[in-house]
Amino acid sequence: MDISFKQVNYTYQPNTPFEHHALRNLSFTISSGSFVAIVGHTGSGKSTLIQHLNGLLRPTGGEVSIGPYQLMPGKKVKDIKVLREKVGVVFQYPEHQLFDETVKKDIAFGPKNFGVDYEEIEKRIPPILDAVQLPEELLERSPFDLSGGQMRRVAIAGVLAMDPSVLVLDEPTAGLDPRGQKEMMDMFYQLHNAKGLTTILVTHSMEDALQYADHVIIMDHGTKYMEGTPEDLFVQKDKLQAVQLDLPEIIQFLRKIEDKFQVSLPYEGQTISELGIQLKEHLKGDVTDE
């Protein structure tokens, strides 16, 4: 589903002393099947933005379209339930998403609510547990008696169980251990490709944005600051720094090498071990002639 924001405003608690303009005149489009990263410092409006994608928030100005669904101020969305079935959102705090007595019921809730039959749900669960790396013995536990990282995995499993066509992930790997972070991102990416999903990832990891996204939107104080491919954006150090963002670490390090040793060593997608070999070659002594 194509997604578009047209001059969207969102104001929290309008006409009160706490009135807060969280989104201002925000416009962009996301074409169906793309993998988009949304980055920006805390409080820049990322979570507010994505809550529009399944109609949890409605714009207070402008218009949001998600495929055939339209969100506008003062107008109820007709098929909000269908929209929520199509757009799966993993929220920033997984605890907020969990509520049922057992992990299993929690994961099954979404599809059950959308009328998926019992047998189908039973079939969906095992591969999903495998994908999010949750051991089966946790199924009968209360989701509130889990560690933070385990809760996050349950919340992700619940969203995957709905088999959405748009996947919205708000800092989905916060709280996961390092292996979990990598495996989870690889899993999302594989799912994105295999099912032709439209994926929207809110992340603080420039590394993940660089590795997985084909398009990046940078937010600052509720407005769109820049957008483009990661390769184009992540070389503009000064512009990024002006909004509190860093370059991906490998690019930062390459810059420092170039400065210190007066060599040219651009980022071209090299792995760390390839970089090791490159450095060995480039910096090997002051051999003046061949």
Binding site: G40, H41, T42, S147, G175, R179, D246, G276, L279, L283
Partner: protein, 279 residues
């Protein structure tokens, strides 16, 4: 000998009698004024350790001693006065209706007088960059802003021990660095001990010592440099090492000499400079 601040003596714990052991014979000591990081895979027992320190849970076997006092039902109030803790999800710990009230709450509990209270609130909110949000409702803040306020509440009460359980996970990288810098400054100024539980590999480099947990057991206790030298084994237990450490290890593999495991870009650049000038 330095004064012991936190000591675990052969601690075992499970959440229910039929349940699995979540901590198995865990022992470690944290001297006063040391900064220690605990890392470990999800479910390895890190938050359980934190909850045992401030008496939200009690050991089934062994003993937890905080500043010389064994943690028991009778001593928890005394212990909690000395321990400031920020939880993984700050929502669980907001009590006030405004950010200011929330920070005030801990101070009131400790009987701090009004004028001192105002200064403490001011200073701590300023330190975490949330002074402009003094009258906002905590639950309406963004994730990272909530975490900043939770940290301010702990700084305000100047505890002798600060425990941060993934307290910066929702912050952007810059914000995370700034906050950790602030916390470390306070730690040095006031000579307190800091226990950080984290999955952020770069945060570990600031610690004096690292406790690595795996499956409820202490798997390793070492300096950050020593930990980063064990890349393969760490990966086997679900962990990893930072970019700089990885690159250093890769350079080592292709025979670029690295004299000591670097902790940051500058240290690695120095190593490369030596390599560059020597051949």
């Amino acid at each position: 000998m330095k004064k012991e601040c936190i000591e675990f003596r052969n601690v075992s714990f499970r959440y229910s009698e039929e349940g699995p052991w979540v901590l198995k014979n865990v022992s470690f000591r944290i001297p006063a004024d040391e900064g220690v990081a605990i890392i470990g895979h999800n479910g390895s027992g890190k938050s359980t350790i934190a909850k045992l320190i401030n008496g939200l849970l009690f050991a089934d076997e062994g003993e937890v001693v905080v500043l010389g006092t064994p943690v028991t039902e009778e001593t928890i109030w005394e212990v909690r006065k000395k321990v400031g803790m920020v939880f993984q999800n700050p929502d669980n710990q907001f009590v006030g209706t405004t950010v200011r009230d929330d920070v005030a709450f801990g101070l009131e509990n400790r009987g701090v007088d009004r004028s001192q209270m105002i200064t403490a609130i001011d200073n701590s909110l300023r330190a975490v960059g949330m002074i402009d949000y003094m009258l906002h409702e905590p639950h309406r803040l963004s994730g990272g802003q909530k975490q900043r306020v939770a940290i301010a509440s702990v700084l305000a009460i100047s505890p002798q021990i600060i425990i941060l359980d993934e307290a910066t996970a929702m912050l952007d990288p810059k914000g995370r660095k700034e906050i950790m810098h602030t916390v470390n400054e306070v730690k040095d100024q006031q000579g307190l001990s800091l226990l950080t539980i984290t999955h952020d590999l770069n945060e570990i480099t600031q610690a004096d010592r690292v406790i690595v947990m795996s499956k409820g057991e202490v798997w390793l206790e070492a300096t950050p440099r020593e930990v980063f030298a064990r890349e393969k084994e760490l990966q086997e237990i679900g962990l990893d090492i930072p970019f700089v450490a990885k690159l250093a290890n890769e350079l080592g593999k292709v025979d670029v000499p690295i004299s000591q495991q670097p902790l940051n870009h500058e240290e690695l650049l120095e190593e490369l400079w030596t390599y560059h000038s020597n051949k």
